[in-house]
Structure formats: C-alpha cells, structure tokens
C-alpha cells in the first residue's frame, strides 16, 4: 500500500432511508470528504480522518441516535476506529 492510499479512510454504507441522514451529517461535518454513490452503496472517502457525530445525526433525524445503529447499515470501512458515545472517528495512527 502506498502513501497516497494510506492517507485515506473510508466508510461504506447501504443506500436507504436510514443512512440518508447519516450521510448528510457526515458530509456536513467533514468538508474534505468525497461522497461516491454506487448502486445500493454510498462510499465516503476522506483524507486522514472522518468523523460521524451523534449530535449532527440527531439534529437531522429528530430523535435520539445511538452510534451503534450505524453498524446495521455498514458495509465496510477502513482506518483505526475511535468510538465514543458522541463520536465515531476513523483515522490512521501515525507514529
């Protein structure tokens, strides 16, 4: 794996009504993220770091959201995961 690909983290979600707001929240919180729409899948690439914020998703869906609900529609992801109640962060550990 070369440096260029290593710099990117991604998260891929199924395309459905549940993920639409999650994707919108990710797009708002990560201005550098690139959103690629495929048939039945949305893959979001971001350089270095990507964050899913509970508060941003909650604002869009109008109810309490548990970040673990993400996994129901998760296809794949890359990066080291740092998960708390408020944020789900993908990033690469750099030494």
């Amino acid at each position: 794996m070369n440096d260029a690909t290593q710099d990117f983290v991604f998260i891929a979600l199924q395309t459905n009504d549940d993920t639409r707001s999650i994707i919108e929240a990710i797009a708002n919180d990560n201005p550098n993220a690139q959103i690629n729409r495929y048939p039945a899948m949305v893959k979001i690439d971001a350089p270095g770091r990507l964050v899913v914020r509970r508060s941003s998703v909650e604002e869009l869906i109008g109810r309490a959201f548990d970040l673990r609900e993400l996994h129901v529609n998760l296809i794949s992801l890359s990066g080291n995961i740092d998960e708390s109640d408020d944020e789900f962060v993908l990033h690469w550990n750099k030494n």
């Binding site: 009504d17 639409r20 707001s21 495929y38 048939p39 869906i61 109008g62 109810r63």
Partner: protein
C-alpha cells in the same frame, strides 16, 4: 469462454416529488417526513361550502387569528409521520405493558392499604377525563386547523391522549384488583368532588373554544405544561417517597411522553411567534389568560392532593413554566402575577 461481469447502474431522473423539491430548493432526496407532510392538504377546487359554516371554505386559514405566510413552517422536530409515529409508540407500549405486568404480578398497588388506595384513586383516576378532554380538543384542532404539518401532529397528539387516558384507567384497575369500581368512583369524583370542579370547568371551557390555535396554546402548552408536571413529577415523587416506586413504573411513560411532546409544542409556538409581532401579542395574551385560569383551576386539586405543600408545589411548577415560556422568546410573564 470468458464472462465479464459488469454492473449497470440506473440513476433515477428525479429524487422527490416536484412540490417537495420546490420547498427544498432543488431536487434532492427528501426524508419520508418531508414527503409525508409538505402540501398534502387540499387548497383549491372546493365545490361546496360547508353547510355548517357557509362563510368559510372547508379548509380555511380564517378559523384562527394567528396568521402565517406558510402554514408548513410548523415542522415537527420529532419528524413524526404515520410510520415513525406508530413505530415509536409501539416500542414504548411494549415497555409500559411489561411494567404493568410487573406491578400486577406482585400486587404492588393492589396490596396497599385501603386509605392509600383511595388517595391514589382520588389523585389519578379522574384525570382520565381530563385526558379525554385533551383528546377531544386535539381532534378539534386537527379538524379545523390548517396545513398537514400541524394537523398531522395534533392528530398523533390526540391519539396519545387517548392512550394516556387508557393508562390512567389501567392504574385504576391495578388499584381495585380489576373490578372497575375505581373507574366509577373516579367518574363521581370528577363530577362531584369540589377539588376537581374548577379543573372540570376549565376543561369544559376549552371544549367550546372556537379559535383552534388558541385552543392549542391553552391545552397543549398551558394546561398540560402545568398539570402534567404537577401530577407526574411532583405528586409521583411524593407517592414513591411514601410507598416505593410501584406507581412510578406505571407513570414512566407519561413523564417521557411529556418531555417528548413539549419539544414539539415549543417548536410550534416558537414558529408562530417568530412569524410576526401580531402573532406574538396574541400568543402572549392567551398564555397570560390561560396560565391564570389553569393555576386557579389546579389550586383546589393541589391542596387536596398535597395538603400543606400545595402552595410550594404550585409555585415550583409555575416557575418552571415561566422559564419554559421565556425560552420560547415570549415574555408574558410579568403581567400574569
């Protein structure tokens, strides 16, 4: 032979309905809530005037003094449409049923002393008539209100109130061992006991309030905003301090429901007030009137249920209500006292 597997992707031409796209500003994917809300109510081509009110159309914005440029500004922060509403309530109902079963199996309320049981019947069971009144009032708002954004939410709210009335009846049945005398007794208390008459008068006054937005303020903001905290927070805390948390298991839904609905009620009032100073003045006037009326109506009930602590309890809920109204950007508080 070599087989190449290729994916073909079909992109849809339009992401949502045109009327929704016009509201969103562009044709982007809309949420179910938006698609199930925006511009659903008919606005034109009414062939006949209603016989019972020929001066107005079937759906008419003139049934309230509140004026809005866009009646679909009343977004529900909970984003309830039929699907999400029924699923949310079904989940909550499962919890309530489990709690009722728990209390039933152990006879937690049935085994209280005669005196304690009749105190609980006095404080809670007649309340089911108040909730039924709230159901009727929200049905009225749904029938005469304007725009799906608010009328669908008030219809859900009406159903919620019927549910609350039923849960209160279930508490009564827990107290009388499923015989049903507590309900009959509650009915008599509601019709005859002095402590309930002022509240009954207020509920009946709301039933004949013509302006549907005034009714929304009076019922959903003011009366509920004072009555629910008094009973399901203050009274419940008192009861569980004396007899343990059996009752709290049965009123947990009411407490959660109140906090959830308050978000929607607050958002609705805030939207109407932000529209124009004229709306704000109307809202402030109604809040002052009904806050006074509700506080007076609750006083005899509170002194019967709380004894010496009645004034403290009433003062606390009124102060909490004042803070809530101030947060909405309305300032009717000073004139009220």
């Amino acid at each position: 032979m070599q087989v190449d597997i290729k994916t073909t992707s079909v992109t849809q031409l339009r992401n949502t309905f045109s009327h929704v796209a016009r509201r969103l500003g562009s044709d982007k994917a809309a949420s179910r809530y938006q698609e199930a809300t925006f511009d659903l109510q008919s606005t034109a081509n009414f062939h006949y005037r209603p016989l019972w009110q020929p001066e107005l159309a079937l759906y008419d914005i003139r049934r309230t003094q509140i004026e809005m440029k866009d009646w679909y500004a009343f977004r529900d922060p909970r984003q309830y449409y039929y699907g999400s509403y029924t699923m949310a309530r079904a989940r909550q109902q499962e919890v309530v049923e489990k709690n009722i079963e728990f209390v039933e199996k152990r006879g937690l309320l049935r085994d209280l002393s005669e005196m304690q049981r009749s105190a609980l019947i006095f404080a809670l069971v007649p309340l089911r008539h108040v909730e039924w009144g709230a159901n009727l009032n929200n049905c009225y708002i749904t029938a005469y209100g304007y725009g799906t954004a608010i009328t669908q939410a008030t219809m859900f709210h009406a159903m919620d109130r019927l549910g609350l009335a039923q849960y209160l009846s279930r508490i009564g049945l827990q107290l009388d061992g499923n015989r049903g005398d507590s309900l009959a007794k509650g009915h008599v208390l509601w019709l005859e006991h002095a402590a309930w008459q002022d509240l009954r008068r207020l509920v009946e006054r709301l039933m004949v309030t013509k302006d549907w937005f005034e009714l929304f303020v009076a019922q959903n903001l003011v009366l509920d905003g004072l009555l629910h905290p008094l009973i399901f927070q203050h009274h419940e805390r008192r009861v569980s301090a004396e007899h343990g948390p059996a009752l709290s298991l049965l009123t947990e839904f009411m407490t959660n429901w109140f906090n959830e609905s308050a978000r929607w009620v607050d958002a609705t009032i805030k939207t109407a007030a932000a529209e124009s100073p004229a709306n704000e003045a109307l809202l402030c006037g109604w809040i002052v009137d009904y806050r006074k009326a509700a506080n007076e109506a609750l006083a005899p009930y509170a002194s019967a249920a709380f004894g010496h602590d009645a004034d403290t309890a009433l003062a606390q809920i009124d102060a909490a209500f004042e803070t809530r109204v101030a947060k909405l950007g309305l300032e009717p508080a000073d004139e009220a006292v």
